[in-house]
C-alpha cells in the first residue's frame, strides 16, 4: 500500500493507494470517525481497476487541525484534492463519505464518473432543518487527535436539506454525461437520501450491480 500526501489549505491529507492496476479508478471515502481501509475490502475486489482511499481532514493519517469548523462542503474539497491528484474517478462512500461522494459527483461532474452511496456512520447527519440552537462542543477527550472530536460532533449535526442534496444529483445528471450517475446501496434512508431516490439518474442497487454498472460507465466514456 502506498500513501501520497495531498495539501488542502493547511491540512495534509493522506491518499492511500490500495491496489495498482490498469483500468478505471475507484476512490473510497470513509464514514464519520472512520479511516481508510488497509487493503481492498473483499466486497470491492471485483472492481476492474486501481483503488484509492482518502482520509478526510481530522481522520486516519490526515492531520487534525485545532478548533474544529467542519462542514460537509470542506470535506468535498478534501475529495476534490484527491480528484486533482487522480484525474477521473468513480467514488464510493460509506456513511458521511456517501454524502460527500454525492457532493463531489455534483461538484466535479466531468471528473467524477458516478458515485456509489453505502451505509455507515454519519449517513444521516443532522436533520433536514436545524434543531434547537446550540453551541457544538466536543465531548471529553484530547484535541488534535484523529478522529477529531470536533469532526464527530459537528458533522453529526450538519443540516442536510433534501432539496440541497438533490441539487447535486441534478448537476451530476445534467453535466456528467452519465445516464445514472448515482447508485444507492445504503439500506438506511435518511430524508436527504430518500429524496435522492425520487430523482432521475439515481437508483437503488446491490453493491455488485453498482460496481459493474459504474465500471462500464467509466470505461465507455
Amino acid at each position: 500500500m502506498s500513501v501520497v500526501r495531498l495539501r488542502h489549505n493547511r491540512v495534509s491529507l493522506a491518499l492511500h493507494g490500495l491496489r495498482a492496476q490498469p483500468g478505471p479508478a475507484l476512490l473510497l471515502l470513509h464514514a464519520l470517525g472512520a479511516r481508510s481501509p488497509e487493503r481492498v475490502p473483499a466486497e470491492l475486489a471485483a472492481w476492474p481497476g486501481p483503488i484509492f482511499a482518502l482520509d478526510f481532514t481530522g481522520h486516519g493519517e490526515s492531520t487534525t487541525p485545532m478548533g474544529g469548523g467542519y462542514t460537509a462542503e470542506v470535506l468535498m474539497a478534501d475529495a476534490d484534492a484527491a480528484v486533482a491528484e487522480l484525474g477521473r474517478v468513480t467514488v464510493l462512500g460509506h456513511g458521511l463519505g456517501a454524502y460527500v461522494a454525492l457532493m463531489i459527483a455534483g461538484g466535479r461532474p466531468k471528473l467524477v464518473a458516478g458515485a456509489i452511496l453505502c451505509d455507515g456512520p454519519g449517513l444521516t447527519g443532522g436533520s433536514p432543518e436545524p434543531g434547537a440552537p446550540d453551541v457544538s462542543l466536543p465531548g471529553p477527550g484530547a484535541l488534535g487527535i484523529a478522529p477529531d472530536p470536533f469532526a464527530l460532533v459537528e458533522l453529526a449535526q450538519d443540516v442536510r436539506p433534501p432539496d440541497y442534496a438533490c441539487s447535486f444529483v441534478r448537476q451530476a445528471r445534467e453535466l456528467s454525461g452519465l445516464e445514472r450517475p448515482i447508485s444507492v446501496c445504503a439500506k438506511e434512508r435518511p430524508p436527504w437520501l430518500a429524496a435522492l431516490l425520487a430523482e432521475p439518474g439515481v437508483a437503488a442497487s446491490s453493491l455488485d450491480a453498482a460496481l459493474a454498472l459504474h465500471a462500464r460507465a467509466a470505461v465507455s466514456q
Binding site: 489549505n9 478548533g67 474544529g68 462542503e73 474539497a77 466535479r108 432543518e129 453551541v135 441539487s167
Partner: protein, 298 residues
C-alpha cells in the same frame, strides 16, 4: 500608527485559547466596569470599533471585543465555519465571566452572536444588532437548467479556490493601495478612516503592507443554510433586542429592510433604520449608534 479623530486603541489586550485556537481579545474601559461583548463583522477586525467602542466605554462599560479566527491578530485556521465562530464567541464570553452581559454585534458578528444568545440565553442580558439581521434569500427567477449551471459554476469556482489556498499570501502594497482596495468593498467609508484601518489591521512585510486577514478566506460560497431559518428563530428571540439598519445598499450589506424584517421581530423589539447610512452604521454614525445602544442598555 495613523491617527483618526475620535479613534482610540483598546486599553488592554490579551489572548484566549478557544479549544486550541489562539484569539486576540481587546478591552476598552475600566476593568471593574460591567462587561459588554462587542462582535465585528466578516472580513473586519476588532480595531474597526476604535471609533465606536470608546463611546460605550466612556459611558461606564468594560467593552470586550475579539478578532474572529482568521481575522486581525487571531490565529489563521484550517477550518472556518459559522458554528465554529459561535463556539469561539462563547470562549471569549467565558473568559469574561459567567454573569449575563449585553452583546452588541455588527453584521456577521451580530448573526453569530444572535445564535449564541438563542443557544445560551442565560448568558446574555440584552442584544443590540448593528445591520446584521437576516434577510430572506433572494432566489433568482431562472429556469431549472439555468440554475443547475449557475450552481455548477459556484461550486466549481469554490473548489478551484480551495485547490489554490495552500501557500496563498495576500497581495502586498503601499498603505494607500491597501486602503483603496478596502475602499472598493467599503465605498462609503472615508479614505482617512480606511488609511487608519491599514495602520492597525495590516502588517508591514519586507515587500510591502498586507492585510492580516487569512488569505484563504473568500467572499461568497454556498451551503445548505437557509436565511429563513434564522428569520423564524428571530420571532422568539429570548432577550430584549435593539436593531439598527443602514438602508443604503452597498457591497457588504445584507439588504435587510424594515418591511422585510418587521413580521419576524420579537415582541418589544426596537428597530431604528438609518436612511442616511450604509452597512457600517457604527463607523458612519458612531455617536448616534452609541446613544441608541446606551439608551437601550440603561
Amino acid at each position: 500608527m495613523v491617527s483618526f479623530p475620535g479613534a482610540r486603541r483598546p486599553d488592554r489586550s490579551r489572548r484566549v485559547d478557544a479549544h486550541g485556537v489562539d484569539l486576540a481579545v481587546y478591552e476598552w474601559g475600566a476593568p471593574g466596569a460591567p462587561p459588554l461583548l462587542l462582535a465585528h463583522g466578516g472580513f473586519d477586525f476588532a480595531g474597526t470599533f476604535d471609533g465606536f467602542a470608546p463611546l460605550i466605554a466612556d459611558a461606564g462599560w468594560r467593552v470586550v471585543s475579539w478578532d474572529h479566527r482568521g481575522h486581525g491578530d487571531s490565529q489563521h485556521c484550517a477550518l472556518y465555519a459559522w458554528h465554529a465562530d459561535v463556539r469561539d464567541a462563547l470562549a471569549v464570553m467565558d473568559s469574561i465571566g459567567g454573569a449575563p452581559m449585553p452583546i452588541v454585534g455588527h453584521s456577521k458578528g451580530g448573526g453569530v452572536c444572535m445564535q449564541l444568545t438563542e443557544a445560551r440565553p442565560e448568558r446574555v442580558s440584552k442584544f443590540a444588532n448593528l445591520d446584521g439581521l437576516p434577510s430572506p434569500w433572494p432566489h433568482p427567477d431562472v429556469a431549472e437548467h439555468e440554475r443547475t449551471k449557475m450552481l455548477d459554476s459556484e461550486i466549481a469556482g469554490w473548489l478551484d479556490w480551495r485547490r489554490q489556498t495552500a501557500g496563498l499570501t495576500r497581495k502586498a502594497g503601499t498603505p494607500e493601495e491597501l486602503a483603496a482596495r478596502r475602499g472598493r468593498m467599503n465605498p462609503r467609508l472615508s479614505p482617512e478612516w480606511l488609511r487608519y484601518l491599514v495602520s492597525i489591521g495590516a502588517r508591514r512585510d519586507r515587500d510591502g503592507w498586507r492585510w492580516k486577514l487569512d488569505p484563504s478566506m473568500r467572499f461568497g460560497g454556498f451551503g445548505p443554510w437557509r436565511p429563513n431559518w434564522a428569520l423564524e428563530n428571530l420571532r422568539h428571540f429570548p432577550v430584549p433586542l435593539l436593531a439598527i439598519l443602514g438602508l443604503i445598499e452597498e457591497e457588504m450589506g445584507w439588504g435587510t429592510t424594515p418591511d422585510t424584517i418587521a413580521p419576524y421581530l420579537p415582541p418589544g423589539a426596537r428597530l431604528h433604520a438609518f436612511e442616511d447610512s450604509g452597512h457600517f452604521v457604527h463607523v458612519e454614525h458612531p455617536r448616534r449608534v452609541a446613544d441608541l445602544v446606551l439608551d437601550f442598555l440603561s
